[in-house]
């Protein structure tokens, strides 16, 4: 596939999507059937925040392969995607488990041995790539990355002289993922989604992608959505599937609902930092392939930690 999709292809793909006002609630397992091996997958949230972990977990269980994943900043979700061999290509601006735990040993293992690719762009460049995709244009000009090693590794970015000012600018190409995975605090059965707090690049990602799968802390009525239409952040016609999945970002956080489940994260990091291969296998076996359902995974994290994270999550509204 060409780097930037020709406009007519983009339009044709979109025209074929059913954009009518229809209910699209499915199970987590059905939702991941919207993702095919080899797809380019855009992931919402950032670092440990509003990560669609439930969807990634389900993709790994469904044995998806060769996904090319993009996210503004990728964290332990990237580890799991590499470690499970669901993805061998990640496009992002920063890839580790989180600043607290040093450099991800899983990322290092896969990238340094050539088992997987990590394409690095600046954070703004990632944002503008999704934005160009959302806008239906092939590129957006930016003023960063110029003169750095980062741009040297990205022939996909094109330096130009501005036809207005003569200044050097960098064009970054549109990114239109095949599928976007996004977790929100609430949406209706049609997919009209509200996002509280930090939005990261999710809106551009949703509008850029050719399919959008939402997980949501809860499904609300369409009446509730229509009562405050200026709070809708993603319109229903951009959404293809909706899954009600409480704690769908665990062990990461969901703004205003729960903070990261740090003990589980510490445990995970300890495991994979000791041995990125065997530790990852142990984690996947027990926490991803092991449980019968997402609820089963939450049970493994444990009630106490889930409650603690919830208490911390809602406390943002007390400040």
């Amino acid at each position: 596939m060409s780097l930037v999709q020709p406009y007519l292809k983009l339009r044709k793909d979109l025209a074929q999507r059913d954009r009518s006002l229809r209910e699209k609630v499915v199970s987590l397992e059905e939702a991941v059937s919207f993702v095919r091996d080899g797809d380019s997958v855009g992931i919402g949230g950032s670092t440990m925040s509003r990560t669609p972990m439930g969807l990634i977990w389900a993709l790994i269980r469904a044995k998806r392969k060769e996904l090319s994943c993009s996210r503004c900043i990728i964290s332990s979700d990237g580890d799991l995607l590499y470690g499970s061999c669901a993805s061998d290509h990640i496009v992002t601006s920063w890839f580790s488990q989180g600043i607290l735990w040093g450099v991800s040993k899983v990322m290092r293992h896969f990238v340094e041995t050539g088992k997987a690719r990590y394409d690095e762009w600046s954070h703004l460049a990632m944002g503008m790539r999704f934005r160009a995709g959302a806008m239906g244009v092939p590129f957006i000009p930016i003023r960063s990355m110029l003169g750095s090693g980062v741009v040297g590794q990205r022939p996909e970015a094109k330096e130009i002289d501005c036809p207005y000012t003569g200044e050097k600018l960098l064009l970054v190409p549109a990114l239109n993922p095949d599928v976007a995975l996004i977790h929100v605090q609430r949406c209706d059965a049609y997919g009209n989604a509200q996002i509280d707090g930090l939005q990261f690049m999710d809106i551009d990602l949703a509008m850029a992608a050719n399919k959008v799968i939402l997980t949501t802390e809860r499904i609300v009525s369409n009446d509730q959505i229509r009562r405050a239409p200026d709070q809708t952040k993603i319109p229903f016609f951009a959404v293809d599937a909706v899954v009600e999945l409480p704690f769908g970002c665990a062990p990461h956080e969901c703004y205003g609902v729960y903070e990261p489940m740090m003990r589980h994260m510490e445990f995970y990091v300890g495991l994979v930092n000791k041995d990125p291969v065997a530790g990852m296998k142990e984690y996947l076996d027990k926490y991803v392939y092991g449980p019968k359902s997402w609820t089963g995974f939450l049970e493994l994290i444990g009630m106490e930690e889930v409650l603690e994270a919830s208490r911390a999550g809602v406390s943002i509204y007390d400040a």
């Binding site: 990322m107 960063s144 003169g147 903070e259």
Partner: protein, 256 residues
């Protein structure tokens, strides 16, 4: 007055970098020491300091003991004036609303270029590091303060890879590359505070930290430093600075 040994290197770093900030400024802060130091400055000499975080936060007021694990976490939004998209907050840099970018660094060179991408040959790296995040954008688009540990392997003549550009190869090379605004302004370490020569754009010591000698700084630096006759000495951390800092990070997450 405190003496060396009464504070950690992390504490010194946070306090000396906090002093670089001025009240009324708009500061884009990275996680770790920068976030902590900006918050410290806000509690000390800069009550009107506006702190921006990469996750999409304007004018946050971080609570003591609740330091966020990244600048993309909800804790970053505590009592913020505005929460907005990640691209939007970076575009503020590009438009010019930000006075200072404030980051940590893994490896820096004589021209203030930062590397957080590769150790060794980027084509076959010894270590693949996490990458730029917002670092490249911040350092490309505004005036930079960097706070980092002073070690010879971190202060190198040429970085293995320019993740976040400083003055590139010195002189006019930064603007020639198309980076018309901003540039490396200060580097604060546990040994000294550095500026950059206005012509050559090479790193220059401005002041030594309390009890540190020129030789000590040069020994821990992988390129030749030129000390001028007016290289000063930084004031040691005050009790008030230290107690405020320790109140902010009671778990010693970032101050070690």
């Amino acid at each position: 007055m405190t003496r060396k040994g009464e504070y950690t290197a992390g504490e010194l770093l946070a306090i000396l970098s906090a002093r670089q900030l001025k009240d009324g400024q708009v500061v884009f802060a990275g996680v770790g020491i920068p976030l902590l130091a900006a918050t410290l400055a806000q509690r000390l000499q800069c009550p009107g300091l506006t702190i921006l975080f990469e996750g999409g936060v304007i004018g946050a007021f971080i609570e003591p003991g609740k330091l966020p694990p990244s600048t993309n976490d909800q804790r970053c939004t505590t009592r913020a004036n505005m929460v907005l998209g990640s691209a939007e907050v970076l575009l503020l840099l590009q438009r010019g609303y930000v006075d200072v970018g404030f980051m940590g660094g893994a490896q820096i060179d004589q021209y203030g270029n930062l590397n957080s991408s590769y150790i060794g040959d980027p084509k076959k790296p010894k270590t693949r590091l996490p990458g730029t995040g917002g670092g490249n954008d911040i350092s490309s688009l505004t005036n930079m303060i960097v706070a980092m540990k002073h070690e010879k392997r971190r202060f190198v003549e040429h970085v293995d890879f320019i993740t976040s550009p400083g003055w590139i190869k010195g002189k006019q090379t930064r603007s020639e590359a198309g980076l018309l605004a901003g540039g490396m302004y200060r580097v604060v370490t546990d040994l000294a505070v550095f500026g950059f020569d206005e012509t050559t754009r090479r790193m220059t010591p401005l002041a030594l930290n309390p009890g540190v000698t020129r030789e000590q700084v040069q020994e821990n630096t992988g390129f030749k430093l030129e000390f001028s006759h007016d290289t000063g000495v930084t004031e040691p951390p005050t009790e008030h600075e230290l107690s405020t800092l320790r109140m902010l990070d009671p778990e010693r997450l970032y101050i070690g």
